[in-house]
Symmetry: C2
Subunit: 435 residues, 2 copies
């Protein structure tokens, strides 16, 4: 069921025009692409050519109406992934869904349905929504506090796991000829918790993976706890080796404390790659794709984002990590801000260096295909990460370039497969099947 | 956009092993079929061969755990239809969904996503759940009374229509080169009603049909009102011509009273067809597929279902319709029971005759392919019905037989197309596009 040799796992984000908000000006395609199912089929086929384990959809159930931005979350990702699974073989789908604004029965049913339809290729990324614009689409209640959202998310997944296991045709005994089935293969779950009261059983049977693989993305204390309890693939932002090792240890230690085997956890952070024939060329592309226009522009953005007075800003002075710790109660994803503070705690960096180390909160790799492949393998080889979720600045361009130039190097180095092996996501990630 | 010549519309139900609970013993295939996506693909391809307008999925989000029954609602029908739409061209999908246990934003988003992915082939059948087993999967609240459920369903569709229209890229003005889009093409709906408070806009744009076609199935007073307000394809049980004409007039008169053009309403009741080389052979198949075993068995079942004391039961006495009116407050679909009482009100029938007029609450046609085609065209020709939703006792067998033997007759009579015309369900049903 699992491969015996450890290998690099790679997912790739394929939301709309790519990960970076300003890079669409330099991409191939039309603006109509963002709502065209056929465009997502082409991106998925491109990812399949690169033997990616999965395409990744982030999501918010709200339209970002900034006239200077672009709609980033449109077609429902579970619906879209279901159609793509029917069109493209092998590859998996990471689908982001809100535990705050779904009911466990419906979500368990829909996701198990897609896992069955795809033959075991679904990964669900359960998030507890933190955006007031999302809350306003689901009633007049204000957003609950973060702790309550995570407590609800944890119970949500407890219930979902009970539902996913509640009807298993493999439990059928001998069925007499006048009967269609052995109804004792299904049993009520009778869950009565703090947030949910649900009888069950689920009306979709156990699927090819037992249940869909569970991804988890929060890095706040509540997020770490949820990852330790339920997370199998951990999406996070890791900008340095010591920060990554500390994060992985924290999640795995918490899992052990909860009585869970940490062998079922994979660390697969986001990664932004910008390739050039030389590093200098990659730096210039970074300045363009980021929207900053120049290195000075990147520095000005850094000062603004971190509340530094331009009058006091020396881009060549070493930064103090403690000054960059995000407020745990702010209304955005805490984990996104933690990456920078941890990077600056573990490494002595100036702002001029720091702006080249992350983009869109994720590890940034700038350089030639060889340099990028080396840097990916570097963090993977010692177990700091198990793989990456590539976030291409532009889709399709930066996916195509990565598949053409970086993937063959990873394959030649023997760390990445040349074709799909195993059938399910659990096989490919070496994750255990639920009992 | 619409065809000028009226023609017969046909859908076909493809839940699990077919419509009748006891007919699986006489079908081709294995029990594993009911959870096999590939089985549903084969059924959809069969329906496509017969140029059916749509396949139809009824649904309850609960597992029927009767050991003597069979699971009838398993894989989520919207998820399944989305995969099928990616695999089979042209044909539409009627997907049943609960307004009681979904949020309008999520439902509007998912359905618009599937309508876009399928190129305008989605019909949603909105039902207000009446089953306590369903309620128990969604919390500890008891089922609200019928009137409240229908009021909520009506506001649910009001909100969904606002959301479906809230982002329309066709409203975009000139977009300056530094911008990705004209954000004024999307606007908040700011809905504040009795049941829902929703800001919007939807993050999926207007689809190829404006919004999915809305089917409606209830025949209680609340159901008629919902049909008149929102229904475009009315699924119902019509057992006789006068009952059908009275029902159609009632819905259309109510629509007019509400200021709606009744030209946008199609009456497409359920229909059970059992074919034989002779009528006698069809009668024997009816006795088998119904599970009754014989005509006496059918009569005994009739007496039991209608609370008639066997000692007082004369199967050859004319029945009184007034004795068969269902209780409007009982915990099941009122419309299902109304069909029989209306049949017996409009026609003088004995029990021996009545048991051959409906099966599974729907109009039953027993006979040769020619007799069946004649009876279908008979009700269609004078506008009593606009078409039918075929409910095959056995799937795939009775779909295959209908496609092979009845469809060619309907085509030869010039009432039914030989191939798919138009692109969307609205085109094929001659339904208006929302403004």
């Amino acid at each position: 069921m699992t491969t015996t040799t450890r290998r690099l796992n790679l997912n790739v984000g394929i939301n709309t025009t790519g990960y970076l908000g300003n890079a669409w000006k330099y991409r191939t395609g039309t603006k109509h692409d963002i709502n065209d199912p056929d465009y997502y089929r082409r991106l998925t086929e491109l990812a399949h050519k690169g033997v990616f384990d999965a395409v990744f959809f982030s999501d918010h159930p709200a339209l970002a109406t900034d006239p200077n931005g672009r709609p980033f979350h449109t077609i429902d990702p579970l619906i879209l992934s279901t159609a793509l699974a029917a069109q493209v073989p092998d590859i998996g789908f990471v689908v982001t869904m809100s535990s705050s604004y779904n009911s466990p029965f419906n979500l368990a049913r829909r996701t198990q349905s897609t896992d069955i339809i795809s033959g075991g290729r679904l990964i669900i990324n359960i998030v507890s929504s933190f955006n007031p614009a999302v809350a306003a689409n689901f009633g007049s209640e204000p957003l609950p506090p973060r702790a309550a959202r995570y407590a609800r998310a944890s119970e949500f997944l407890d219930v979902a796991k009970k539902l996913w296991a509640s009807w298993d045709p493999a439990r059928e005994g001998e069925v007499p000829p006048e009967r269609f089935w052995d109804a004792s293969s299904a049993h009520a779950i009778d869950h009565e918790g703090e947030y949910f009261t649900i009888k069950g059983p689920l009306n979709v049977p156990r699927g090819p993976q037992g249940h869909p693989v569970i991804a988890q993305a929060g890095a706040s204390e509540g997020g770490i706890d949820l990852a330790a309890r339920h997370g199998e693939i951990i999406y996070c932002n890791i900008l340095s080796r010591p920060a990554g090792q500390a994060f992985g240890k924290k999640v795995k230690d918490r899992a052990i404390a909860l009585g869970r085997d940490p062998a079922g956890i994979r660390i697969v952070p986001g990664l932004v790659v910008i390739l050039g024939e030389t590093r200098e060329q990659a730096l210039r592309k970074h300045e363009l794709f980021s929207g900053a226009g120049s290195e000075d522009g990147l520095l000005a953005r850094f000062a603004k984002e971190n509340g530094i007075d331009p009058a006091d800003f020396d881009p060549d002075a070493v930064l103090v990590g403690a000054n960059f710790i995000p407020d745990q109660n702010r209304l955005m994803a805490v984990g996104m801000g933690l990456g920078l503070s941890e990077l600056l705690t573990h490494e002595k960096l100036t702002a001029r260096q720091a702006v080249r180390r992350s983009e869109g909160h994720h590890r940034l790799l700038l350089g030639t295909p060889e340099e990028v492949a080396d840097a990916i393998i570097d963090f993977w080889a010692d177990g700091t990460v198990d793989g990456y979720t590539l976030q291409p600045p532009r889709a399709p361009d930066d996916i195509a370039e990565f598949v053409e130039k970086v993937i063959p190097i990873l394959q030649d180095r023997g760390v990445y497969p040349r074709s799909y092996e195993g059938k399910t996501i659990r096989d490919r990630y070496g994750l255990p099947y639920p009992a």
